[in-house]
């Protein structure tokens, strides 16, 4: 989310979920919303029923295409070209909101310069979308206000994911679609508490509320509050940690509630890295593929057995409430950490209830300053909520951007890190299913969900299927430069020609054995959405 922070000063969803239905135009890109965020998809459908125009940009024929006025089926990884092409049309046809740009934004001229490279002929060639369609989408977005942009992992999981995000930010600023109801740029967070984990400083470079570790004032504040001295240089990101574990620099990892063996790109590398650790602690509710590698496994409670809060994708801090007693000797994660810290002789971990932890968070975090369990009772609070009498903030950047002026960023088109060639002629793109979640740790334990969708498949267009002589339901081998996976083929027009699709929920056919770990240089997000593969038939025995 580095892109949005650079443009606007905050990386979070700018607007709220319940505003979507009133938008006159919605651009959904890089999100299969009905699968990834089903209840947000309902708001999109409501907007269409209210007469709003829906533009879907997606290589795959997702369910929302049925509701879309216009569907841009662009080549995977060509998002920057597509969006810049649209902006070129908006500028050329004088549909930009010049007054808004003049008053609220900076760096517009440099950005406009960079549009020169995006003549529609070039854009059509790169994206595979007819230029007339791109122009039409541009006009629809620019002239139907308020317009809002929704995006998800289909935008960020690229080696140039930050550029993709910057492009969406440019587009919103260009048309003045920011800081008002039903506008904005709205990253839909994948997991329930990604927003909260970031907000609360589970990041190498910031404490809570994005306060930088290399800012001496911040460091000082936390040193006084916690009564210790603290490091001022940012730590390693997840991918860097795994590399460091691989090379022996990191010797001990404490992992809580994640399953990187299934979720991270290049599964083999992750497994090797974790096996090299001298001491590996895993804390989870099940013995996951990752926990199998641990030296110590600690039983945690599920969300239903603990109190706490999650922050949803629209920055709303909401209560998690205990419904049942912990199973066996499982304990909530917060309690386990407190006990480990206690054994190590640390002070400042003697909490009896998560509400006390939230009070400490509020005292150290400006954007959570007004949050307390009492205030969350009704329907939560949307940050920033700086003080006890602040009602919370449904819309960011009202009147002025968080960073002062919105910053336009000049962009250029960069192809994906790995493109198809003779040996690996197809593009593999990955995504989520409605019926499973993330690595399936929870959903694959649910028999009904398994009955509806028992195993992973690779979706392939009928044209490719017939040239490869593969029939629906056939077992195939998907091979990339990093590994191979065997699964069944599903022949469907939902995948465009030359593009195949897999989900990453299934351990026995894990898409991340195939995907490319190449990172976006800024956000450090790996390119899970594009890699080159070939498909071979497997003779059933």
């Amino acid at each position: 989310m580095a892109g949005l922070a650079a443009s606007f000063g905050s990386g979070a969803m700018t607007n709220s979920i319940n505003e979507i239905a009133q938008a006159a135009c919605i651009l959904v890109t890089g999100s299969d919303t009905t699968s990834g965020h089903p209840v947000i998809a309902l708001e999109v459908k409501k907007a269409v029923r209210n007469g709003g125009k829906l533009i879907v940009a997606n290589p795959r024929e997702i369910e929302l295409c049925r509701y879309a006025g216009i569907w841009l089926r662009h080549a995977p990884g060509s998002d920057v070209a597509l969006l810049m092409g649209m902006m070129r049309v908006i500028v050329d046809e004088k549909l930009a909101d010049v007054a808004f740009i003049g008053e609220h934004c900076e760096n517009f001229d440099a950005f406009r310069e960079s549009l020169r490279n995006f003549g529609l002929d070039f854009v059509e060639k790169v994206t595979d979308v007819p230029s007339a369609k791109i122009a039409e989408a541009a006009r629809i977005y620019a002239t139907n206000k308020p317009a809002t942009i929704l995006y998800a992992m289909g935008i960020t999981q690229h080696t140039h994911g930050t550029d993709n995000v910057l492009a969406t930010a440019n587009l919103a600023m260009l048309t003045g679609n920011i800081g008002k109801p039903s506008t904005g740029v709205n990253p839909l967070r994948g997991q329930n508490n990604v927003q909260g984990a970031c907000d609360l400083g589970a990041l190498p470079n910031v404490y809570t509320g994005y306060q930088r570790v290399d800012n001496p004032d911040v460091q000082n504040k936390f040193e006084i509050a916690w009564g210790c001295s603290l490091g001022s240089s940012p730590g390693l990101t997840l991918t860097e940690m795994l590399d460091a574990a691989h090379s022996g620099q990191i010797k001990a990892i404490y992992l809580m509630g994640e399953n990187p063996v299934l979720s991270d790109p290049d599964a083999k590398h992750v497994q090797e890295a974790l096996s090299k650790l001298e001491f590996f602690i895993v804390q989870d509710i099940f013995l996951t593929e990752t926990a199998e590698l641990a030296d110590v496994v600690l039983p945690a409670t599920s969300f239903a057995e603990r109190d706490g809060t999650f922050t949803n994708t629209e920055r709303r801090i909401q209560r998690v409430r205990k419904a049942v007693e912990p199973v066996g000797n499982a304990k909530p994660d917060w309690q386990i950490i407190c006990q480990v810290a206690g054994r190590l002789g640390a002070n400042g971990f003697d909490f009896e209830h998560p509400s006390q932890i939230m009070d400490e968070i509020a005292s150290l975090t400006p954007s959570y300053g007004g949050v307390s369990y009492q205030r969350l009772e009704e329907c939560g609070l949307q940050w920033p909520c700086p003080s006890k009498d602040h009602p919370g903030t449904p819309i960011l950047h009202v009147d002025r951007f968080v960073r002062g002026l919105g910053r336009f960023t000049p962009l250029e088109y960069k192809p994906p890190a790995e493109l198809p060639d003779e040996e690996y002629p197809l593009i593999l793109t990955t995504g989520r299913s409605l019926y499973h979640f993330h690595t399936g740790t929870m959903t694959r334990k649910v028999s009904g969900l398994n009955a509806i969708e028992p195993h992973g498949v690779v979706e392939i267009n009928p044209v490719d299927a017939s040239s490869l002589k593969i029939a629906d339901g056939h077992k195939v081998k998907v091979v990339s430069r990093r590994g191979e996976v065997i699964c069944k083929a599903k022949v469907t027009k939902e995948s465009p020609p030359k593009v195949v699709f897999m989900t990453f929920h299934f351990a026995e056919s894990a898409a991340n054995i195939l995907t490319n770990p190449a990172l976006d240089p800024v956000s450090k997000i790996p390119e899970l959405k594009v890699c080159a593969v070939r498909i071979e038939e497997v003779q059933e025995t």
């Binding site: 319940n18 965020h37 089903p38 209840v39 947000i40 309902l42 960020t156 008002k180 967070r189 997991q191 329930n192 990604v194 927003q195 909260g196 984990a197 400083g201 589970a202 990041l203 809570t208 603290l230 390693l236 990101t237 997840l238 940690m241 620099q249 990191i250 001990a252 990892i253 404490y254 992992l255 809580m256 509630g257 994640e258 001491f279 099940f286 030296d295 110590v296 496994v297 945690a300 239903a304 603990r306 706490g308 419904a323 049942v324 199973v327 066996g328 304990k331 909530p332 950490i337 480990v340 810290a341 190590l344 009202v398 979640f437 334990k445 649910v446 009904g448 969900l449 997000i525 790996p526």
Partner: protein
Amino acid sequence: MVICEKTEVTNLTIDGQQIAAESGMTIFEAATKVGIYIPSLCAHPTLPPSEECGLCLVEIEGEPEFVISCTTKAAENMVVHTETPELRQKQRQVLEKILSEHPNACLTCWRKERCQPFDVCLRNVAVTERCVTCPKNGRCELQEVADFLDIEAEPIPYKYRGLPVNRDNPFFDLDYNLCIACGRCVRACRDVRGMQTIDFTELNGYRVAGPVKANHKESECRFCGACVDVCPTGALMERCGKWQGLPEDSIITTCPYCGVGCQLILETKQDRIIRVAPVLENSVNQGQACVKGRFGIAEFVHHPRRLTMPLIRKNGELTEASWNEALDLLAEKLAGYKGDQFAFIASAKCTNEENYLAQKFTRMVMASNNIDHCARL
């Protein structure tokens, strides 16, 4: 810059009460807003009205006929009555017509409040036709309406339909014998979910709601459960917890799956989750959820393979250990890895408080800024 639209107000009187309704509200909505109950079986706060059941009649002064209140807009200075004896008489007739198509011996029995599932039935009602053996017993809107209209009489002539129960999917059952064709499920699926999985159909001459193709899956059902949530009777029931009866307890919490953060009610009995339903009011999801939150929680929470004891690797094998042993080992080992050789991988599945503690622990106790989670994925 937030636009605060001023809502126009319509003033009307219902049962002698002055009401300032938002303009555009129906009489039914205006009455519900101030807590006046008008019996109905097809109206639902999340659905467009349909007039299907014909129960929600009211009298408007100056109008020759009773009107259906769920589709009649409130008008300035309107004077409405909802509880005249004539209205009740008419509503009873409408209900009796509905009941002639639904098992009703229990509904009209004077003993219904006292009856337990294993009591001898005074009316000799077949087990399949008793409320006390119906999974919806105690939270059935048809029961509520029958109670409200106080139908205590001889059983209304009715023949058990003998239709099969549709169990074509893993999540919910559709008992065509209990369907009163109110159409709520059809509207929820079509008008709220944007799907067209179910519609009215005829089975052995009875009008019921059912999947448009051979089964729910083929009819593109997404198993969101919206139809189940609005069904006023026991026709559509989630299978999990179906026979558990009423919950002992319930709490509101946040869905553990995607970033929407739907608010869910977890109903529990004997320390187990028996049912999960979306929260209607004051929530991001406004009464909606998806298959994962609606049907994908209880089973993983209560799964037999949940970890219940700490495990320590001994001779290459993960072996059960006590908390004391595990914590001692952790403390002893971790003391030797302070600084840059330590890293913490926190989680987007854990709570805010836990992520806060994870980074505090890493930075303060382990003297390392190596903390991250899988947000990037």
